[in-house]
Symmetry: none
Subunit: 190 residues, 4 copies
């Protein structure tokens, strides 16, 4: 990855940071569709070319913001208290609390749109929400502990959990109090 023996100045790290910060700020404030390269360049006091040199697209900027934890700063890892349902409920409530907090309104929606344009964004989104790897691990552990039938279709289970979150958020309906609990009861055995 690191180009050895190349001439010329090193990549300006300050510029890179400034660009990602400007990107994050704009996504958080106005959403992904209001994100413009020119705006980021202006905010970061950087020339457009410096952005285009390193990122191929708007969505790539967002992907790197995710990778750098400048968006979705929290990493949601389900605990393993022994009680699967309780753990999943807590995990859901954490995410719901994060998405509902003042600074993050519309963030998931923005990221979903970016994710439709860019697979990397989708990957990071899944990772950060702890969806596939972390939740998967928790489920495997649950199967081993006989809290979950061995033939549970884990992919579908994950999609249903995540999907319920997503469609609620997309609909703009907000999350009522019992949502996490009801969903967990519905999908997981006691």
């Amino acid at each position: 990855m690191t180009e050895v023996g190349r001439r010329g100045p090193k990549r300006n790290e300050q510029a890179r940071i400034a660009i990602l910060q400007a990107t994050s700020a704009r996504v958080l404030e106005n959403g992904y569709d209001q994100l413009t390269i020119e705006g980021v360049a202006a905010d970061a006091r950087v020339s457009k070319q410096t952005i285009y040199r390193w990122w191929p697209s708007r969505s790539a900027l967002v992907a790197e913001c995710l990778a750098e934890r400048m968006l979705l700063t929290e990493f949601f890892v389900p605990e393993d208290s022994g009680d699967l349902r309780a753990d999943v409920i807590r995990w859901l409530e954490n995410i719901i609390g994060f998405l509902g907090s003042p600074g993050n309104s519309g963030l998931l929606r923005s990221l979903l749109i970016a994710a439709t344009e860019n697979t990397e964004v989708a990957t990071h989104l899944n990772e950060r929400l702890g969806m596939w790897e972390m939740l998967g691990e928790r489920f495997t552990a649950a199967i081993e502990a006989d809290q979950l039938p061995a033939d549970t279709p884990l992919a579908e289970l994950g999609d249903a959990l995540m999907g319920a979150l997503v469609v609620r958020d997309l609909r703009g309906a907000g999350f009522d109090n019992g949502f996490a609990k009801n969903l967990a009861i519905l999908l997981l055995p006691a």
Copy 2:
């Protein structure tokens, strides 16, 4: 609503239809982000002003296309064969088949993006995908027939079913063969 006794010419219905048809065609062909007012106006052989007179935004056009059933043309009503699981599986497979058919690739993604911009689109989308009107009835019937516990949280059930579809589609992962069946087994009692 109906303005009584107003002077002046009536709204040109042909123009309205042509605009919505052009909108639908462009969304289906190139997706929502390639949809431009100028393009629609050109296709519909109408002046831009006629579009701006009646619709405030790009997304409002799409919302009306949905309302007029020019997008998501097929309406999926689950049957009531007495076997809830089987009915839901068939319903899921219908939708999957529709979403996967050549003309509709990316359609859901487009509509979801439009839905993030416009609450009406979101509403129509929820309605159209049959969740509330159609699946709701089926679930109520199932409760009455003791195929579903009376305390099942129907909203969460619907979100989980629909959401699983949505995230799969968004992820671009495609639907494998067992998806509908696995999902139904996961969410519904035998």
Copy 3:
């Protein structure tokens, strides 16, 4: 002109007046190039069609305003005191004073532009500024009184007088104190 025996309502004189008043007001305030049919219609609370029905063009409106003395309200007739030069100087100063008064800044320019589009405006402009008919009479009287050589080319004399006013105004240079006097001395014998 008057259509005899025709049925239906008569032309609405109030509308006509309102249209001309709106036209005059707009020309005086913002100049001829800011004059729009839509603006006049809005000001006069009249439909566009009512304007188009009776006037073929923007400039025709201005022409009628001139004819109705709603623009260039003062009529400049040179006196005949026996002293031609003095009379012309007074006449020039009257016009200069009028053109320079607060409400009329740019008016001549506006009317000149309208005149290039519409012969009627040109005619009215000439009439109203007293040029041809009124100044012509004064010159004829001067010839008879031996204050002006009989072979003076009156058309050129008038053009030179009027033209000097016009180019000064167009240039936006303003009229200095001696202008009227100098011009009269230059063009007329003592």
Copy 4:
């Protein structure tokens, strides 16, 4: 004024020329009021933004065309044959000939309209028509040669000459044969 050491690409001179040529051509062909930025951009094969970047308005384009001698190409310098009247008559006839030639019909009117919108156009127009620079010199020479009284108000003389031309042209009356001669006789001593 000249930006020293500025970075970035230089202004494209070819584009500038093409824009001014397109402007000139359109003014000559269809007059100033038919001049549109979009038309110029299309003719010059240049984007609209390139025009708006460098010129604030339609009239500024015309002003620069005048400054670049792409309009009113011929520069009328009065000769000095020793006979002031004869020189002025020839000068007037040259201008009349130019204004009356097929390609230039309406040109003066166009420029006058532009001049009412833009002081620079007015200035260039005065300059170009030779009044101040060129005719002024001829008059000074005439005063030195005792062909013109030393106290002749040159500004008014110029305005009268130029103004007579202008109002004739604006009136659309055309120039009859004796015009130049009569005017010169009227304004200048033998």
